[in-house]
Amino acid sequence: MGETITFWVLAVVSVSAALGLVLSRRAVYCALMLGVVMLSLAVLYAVQDAPFLAAVQIVVYTGAVMMLFLFVLMLVGVDSSDSLVETIKGQRFWAIVAGAGFAVLLGLAVGNAVLSPPAGLLGATQTAGGNVPALAQLIFTRHVFAFEVASALLITAALAAMVLTHRERLTEKPTQRALARARFLTGGSVVLPGPGVYARHNANDMPALLPDGSVSELSVNRVIARHDVEDERFPDDPKLAEAIKQAVEEESK
């Protein structure tokens, strides 16, 4: 009975989280949703006599893999939320049809199979003295070769990640002196404030002006603008203030 309740609760949670993963626009939310699904699954593993896997699921997936995902998200830019407008004609429709069809087919297959009540793992683990020793026995005897190969794979993958993300420096690293020279040679004598710092102009949150003096909507940083609106901190220039408000309004639509 306990298992049934657990299952139904977690099934609902995991399916909704999965749907959330697919539907949410922000990649960070997606990552969180995925985390939820993984945790739910970890519990389900535990319920199904796989305590070791449950632990590994939490450690490896929610611990390592998810962290990696979030890390890359940060690297790529958290603010970039996806547009969910489909650009390939018919892709979404057919994807849903195929997905639903596939799910129905799998469901039918499962339904078709006449299943006896589960045998349970008690018999398999009893002799070894528990789930973990039983798994260990199998992994280090029968599947030792696969295990070694898997470890080689992991090392290779680690190397690959390093090689792929490594950027070969083609030129000498510019010194501060060289950078300063370059800046002045191009005519920009004013030292502009760094991004993310509030400053009267040139600032990240300050909209840029187009050649005709109007405000470029595109130049408004949505994240900072939202904070500006929430905290009612507007620049003195009414034109700029208006632009920031508009950007936030559009964002919330």
Binding site: I88, Q91, W94, A98, G99, G101, F102, L106, N112
Partner: protein
């Protein structure tokens, strides 16, 4: 009919080496053609020598042949295997072939000699003699071969020589076209001859004369008729008989000795030779024989009518040649009774027509190569020898009593009359027309006032040209009487072609003979009134419908053009179009279709990984579905 004698294999003697008759001129031609410019100086002499040598061999073979008893006068000489199992090449010397050989080499040599003078100013004289020698060799092969394939080889060989000689002045487009036309029209005839040979082979399993004629009696009459008609088609092509007559008039583009030798005396008579030689087949196929006579009569009238309207002296003579060969063909279609007359007329015609043509050549030689008789006139004073010989030829051809043509043509008319009155009377009418157009020619050329251009200075030709004329005129006077009177020639030919049940007797005063003479006289008188006494306009008057009809060669060319040439051109254009657009278009279209399809299919590869993933999912779904289905079945 008596069956022809068997062929007896011969070895030794002159007959044993009679192939030299063919080989010598062939060698001459080869030397002259391969020798190039080196032989320019003495090439013409070599040509004449080879022709004369051939003549000598022919005479010696003739002497040897008549030394044999009559029943053994068909001598075969085996030469070599041409196509193993099918054709053994050999020479057949019998009265028929030796008559031809004598005519070809004799008249041929005279024309060779004449050509020395006639072609003396031509830079390509050597080549001319090479071609003449080639012709003589091919013609001799035609008549001497002992089988149909050998005859066919010679048959096409003379066609080649004729092509080369008509187109001798090939830089003239008209000459080149005429040569081409002659060859192609001849090929149509050859088509018939070839099929005829095929039928002979499939019927008898042999193409040699002896075996074929020996077995002819056992063959179905229908098959024999087919063979006869096919051979006749070949004969029509070579002998310019209706409906394949159109090339002969154009062939006059060649040098005049060529017209004399090939297109009057020898080659064009090959059709008559073929019909007479195949007598054993024709005699068993009366329908074919009837068609032969009809073709003969139609052509003798058509040729004569064409002859009446021609102002070009050579074309006039060409029309007359057609007409005379029509007589021979008529006679050849009459069976053994006519063969002797056909061949006799062929021989006498060879003499007087060569005489006339060479005379015409002599006139042209004197008149800056002018051929339009309206620009002649009164030439008898300037060209006395030519006039004399031409006049003898003229008298011979119109059948003036006691000259050659009188005996041979009368013989034909009488035999035809005996056979069928309609044929006979039509032949008589033809003779009358002959009287008209030949008289017209003589009057326009030699009588009346001079109408030639100021820069023409008529002069008699050199001796090398006049002596052949004189020799030919002697033949034109006496040969006919010698051959016909007492049936000399018929008796001589009998071993080869058989003889009729009763020998004809020559009547000097028969009804057809007198009628012929009367009609000829009327024709000549009419010609005198129009062209002798009256002024001949220099430019031809328009003339009536009939005149135009005759001038345009009875619309023969027009018929050929509208029936064959234009549809042919249309078919050619269509075929080329069909090949380029139809077949090749189909192929290229297929290629373009495949290219286009793959170009469109290529678009499926959008490069979007998600599209590919979608198709993978679909595939997976299909596989899953299939598994489910199979599992449930």
């Amino acid at each position: 009919m008596e069956p022809a004698e068997k062929i007896i294999q011969h070895a030794g003697g002159v007959i044993g080496v009679s192939w030299l008759m063919i080989a010598l001129p062939l060698l001459g031609a080869a030397i002259l053609l391969l020798g190039g410019r080196r032989t320019d100086r003495w090439g013409h002499l070599l040509g004449v020598a080879m022709s004369l040598a051939s003549f000598v061999v022919a005479v010696l073979a003739f002497v040897e042949l008549i030394g044999l008893p009559e029943a053994q006068r068909r001598r075969g000489v085996e030469l070599f295997q041409f196509i193993p199992g099918m054709v053994d090449m050999g020479v057949l010397i019998d009265p028929l072939s030796i008559s031809f050989a004598l005519l070809i080499t004799g008249v041929g040599s005279l024309i060779h000699i004449y050509s020395i003078g006639y072609m003396s100013h031509d830079p390509a004289r050597r080549r001319f003699f090479a071609y003449l020698n080639l012709f003589v060799a091919a013609m001799l092969l035609l008549v001497l071969a002992d089988n149909y394939v050998g005859l066919y080889v010679g048959w096409e060989g003379v066609g080649l020589a004729s092509y080369l000689l008509i187109g001798f002045w090939q830089q003239k487009p008209s000459a080149a076209t005429a040569a081409q036309k002659a060859f192609i029209v001849n090929r149509v005839g050859d088509f018939g001859l070839a099929i005829g040979i095929f039928v002979i082979w499939t019927t008898f399993g042999s193409v040699a004369y002896g075996p074929v004629f020996g077995a002819a009696g056992g063959a179905d009459q229908g098959v024999l008729t087919v063979i006869g008609l096919l051979l006749l088609l070949g004969a029509c092509g070579k002998s310019a008989q209706v409906p394949l007559q159109s090339w002969l008039l154009d062939a006059m583009e060649g040098p005049t000795p060529v017209s004399a030798l090939i297109h009057a005396a020898t080659m064009v008579t090959a059709g008559v030779y073929l019909v007479v030689r195949s007598g054993a087949i024709f005699e068993l196929a009366p329908t074919a024989q009837l068609v032969v006579t009809i073709v003969g009569v139609v052509t003798l009238l058509a040729g004569a009518i064409i002859g009446t309207a021609k102002d070009d002296i050579k074309k006039g003579l060409a029309g007359s040649t057609m007409s005379q060969i029509g007589y021979m063909m008529l006679a050849a279609g009459l069976g053994p009774a006519g063969y002797a007359f056909a061949i006799a007329h062929l021989i006498t015609h060879g003499f007087f027509k060569a005489n006339l043509f060479l005379g015409a050549g002599s006139i042209m030689h004197a008149m800056n190569d002018e051929v339009d008789m309206r620009k002649y006139g009164g030439l008898r004073k300037f060209l006395p020898v030519t006039f004399a010989t031409f006049f003898i030829g003229y008298l011979a051809i119109i059948g003036f009593p006691l000259l050659s043509g009188y005996f041979t043509k009368d013989g034909i008319i009488e035999t035809a009359m005996h056979h069928s009155a309609i044929l006979g009377w039509l032949a008589v009418v033809g003779a009358g027309i002959t009287g008209f157009y030949m008289s017209r020619m003589v009057f326009m050329t030699f009588f009346g006032e001079k109408r030639w251009a100021d820069d023409a200075h008529p002069h008699e030709s050199p001796a090398v040209m006049t002596w052949p004329l004189i020799i030919l005129s002697v033949g034109s006077i006496f040969l006919g009487g010698y051959l016909i009177l007492g049936n000399t020639f018929m008796q001589f030919l009998a071993p080869a072609v058989g003889r009729p049940a009763e020998l004809p007797v020559f009547h000097f005063f028969s009804v057809p003979g007198l009628a012929t003479l009367a009609l000829v006289a009327v024709g000549a008188a009419f010609a005198w009134m129009k062209y002798g006494r009256a002024q001949v306009p220099v430019v031809a008057p328009r003339g009536s419908f009939l005149t135009t009809f005759a001038r345009r060669d009875l619309y023969g060319d027009a018929i050929n053009e509208s029936l064959f040439m234009r549809p042919g051109q249309w078919a050619t254009r269509f075929a080329v179009f069909f090949d380029n657009r139809g077949i090749d278009g189909l192929v290229n279209g297929l290629a373009a279709m495949i290219g286009g399809t793959s170009g469109r299919l290529r678009r499926i590869q959008t490069g979007f990984a998600r599209s590919y993933a979608l198709s993978i999912l679909f595939g997976a779904a299909v596989v899953a579905g299939a598994l489910l289905l199979v599992g449930n079945l």
